[in-house]
């Protein structure tokens, strides 16, 4: 008689729990997403009020629009290139302390957010709750923006300004890598 051990799971995450965790994990599953979302928070902090909160409002909403477009089957070409470009462009904006008019800042962020949302939109695992998944990835996105904003608050000190610009440079460099990876 053989005795085999099997896993006894104390908590079995299905449905809403699994959906929320899956959604929460999604934006942090790729460095390209992480870089772009932190960059939005950093750029907002660099630009100051009202951009500091308008950009992290625009991004999740337009990201959801991108997800919506993906779900209803609207084709969007070069999604991965768009995601890579978001890190590159936002990184450059931060590194060079570019401060365009507010509407242009929001437009740039909104356009890139659509690519990010489109990429996330269709990847719901079977058996999980769609709303819990969506809640997870909106919360995760917001948290990443929050991290960017918190880091960006050092912008008020002269040394902090340089650090933020250097961080922007790293994000831009990462963006180059992501675009190259998407193209090749």
């Amino acid at each position: 008689m053989k005795y085999t051990l099997t896993a006894i799971l104390a908590h079995v995450e299905t449905g809403k729990a699994a959906g929320f965790l899956s959604g929460f994990h999604h934006p942090i599953s790729g460095w390209d997403h992480i870089a772009a979302m932190i960059a939005v928070g950093l750029w907002g902090a660099q630009l100051g009020a009202p951009a500091i909160w308008l950009l992290p409002v625009a991004f999740p909403m337009m990201m959801a629009m991108g997800g919506f477009l993906g779900l209803i089957g609207v084709p969007l070409p070069a999604v991965e290139i768009g995601i890579g470009l978001s890190a590159l462009v936002l990184g450059i904006m931060i590194a060079l302390e570019v401060k365009p008019p507010l509407f242009l800042c929001i437009l740039i962020v909104a356009i890139f957010a659509i690519f990010h949302g489109y990429a996330h939109g269709a990847e719901l695992a079977p058996g999980t709750s769609a709303i819990a998944y969506s809640l997870g990835f909106v919360v995760s996105t917001g948290c990443l923006h929050g991290v960017g904003i918190l880091i960006g608050l050092i912008h008020k000190w002269p040394a902090g300004r340089s650090v933020v610009r250097v961080a922007g440079g790293f994000i831009a460099a990462a963006g180059v890598f992501f675009v190259w990876k998407a193209i090749s």
């Binding site: 209803i72 969506s134 919360v139």
Partner: protein, 182 residues
């Protein structure tokens, strides 16, 4: 006469009753509790007078809608939940300066709609379940509206509006999921 009945110490088999089923239903249903939170926060941001009207109108309309829901059982289109979240989230995110009559009207509309959605989901069709969910909605509304009144300035006001944008984003995604499912 001497036959003993079960004496259930824990209501595992009987449940806590329809009132508490209704209460729990709201807290376990994101599609219903999030619009209630968004609407309450919006009313609170508008001011205490708006909040006082909202906490009365919402549960009353909820009960009316819920009663209609389980008596009529007319299924609503799947996109309705996404639509409700989208609009209530937008109200909070945009923080529109609407008159009190319009806010009362919006609250009544969403109270009826959410109550109706609740009603068609209740398996037993008991008025106590509707009252339970309306009571839960009332409690959530009171707490959120009061919180919004307290936080109605500076960066905390902005944080509440950011939360509204998240509810809007969720509504858009839920709309997308419901359209994908068709």
């Amino acid at each position: 006469m001497l036959l003993s009945q079960n004496a259930d110490a824990h209501l595992v088999s009987t449940g806590a009753g329809p009132f508490y089923d209704g209460t729990a239903h709201l807290f376990l249903t994101f599609e219903e509790i999030l619009p209630v939170i968004a609407l309450s926060l919006f009313a609170g941001l508008r001011g205490p007078r708006y909040g006082r009207w909202m906490i009365v109108v919402l549960p009353l309309c909820w009960i009316i809608g819920g009663t209609l829901g389980f008596s009529k059982s007319v299924p609503l289109p799947a996109f309705i939940t996404g639509f409700v979240m989208l609009i209530t989230g937008l109200l909070l995110a945009m923080d529109w300066k609407l008159s009190i009559r319009i806010v009362i009207g919006i609250t009544a509309f969403f109270g009826l709609l959410l109550g109706f959605l609740n009603g068609i989901e209740m398996p037993n069709g008991s008025i106590l379940e509707i009252i339970g969910s309306a009571t839960a909605a009332f409690i959530v509304a009171v707490l959120c509206a009061a919180l919004a009144v307290l936080l109605n300035h500076g960066w905390t006001r902005i944080a509440l509006r950011v939360a509204g944008s998240w509810v809007t984003a969720l509504g858009l995604l839920v709309l997308g999921w419901s359209m994908k499912a068709r």
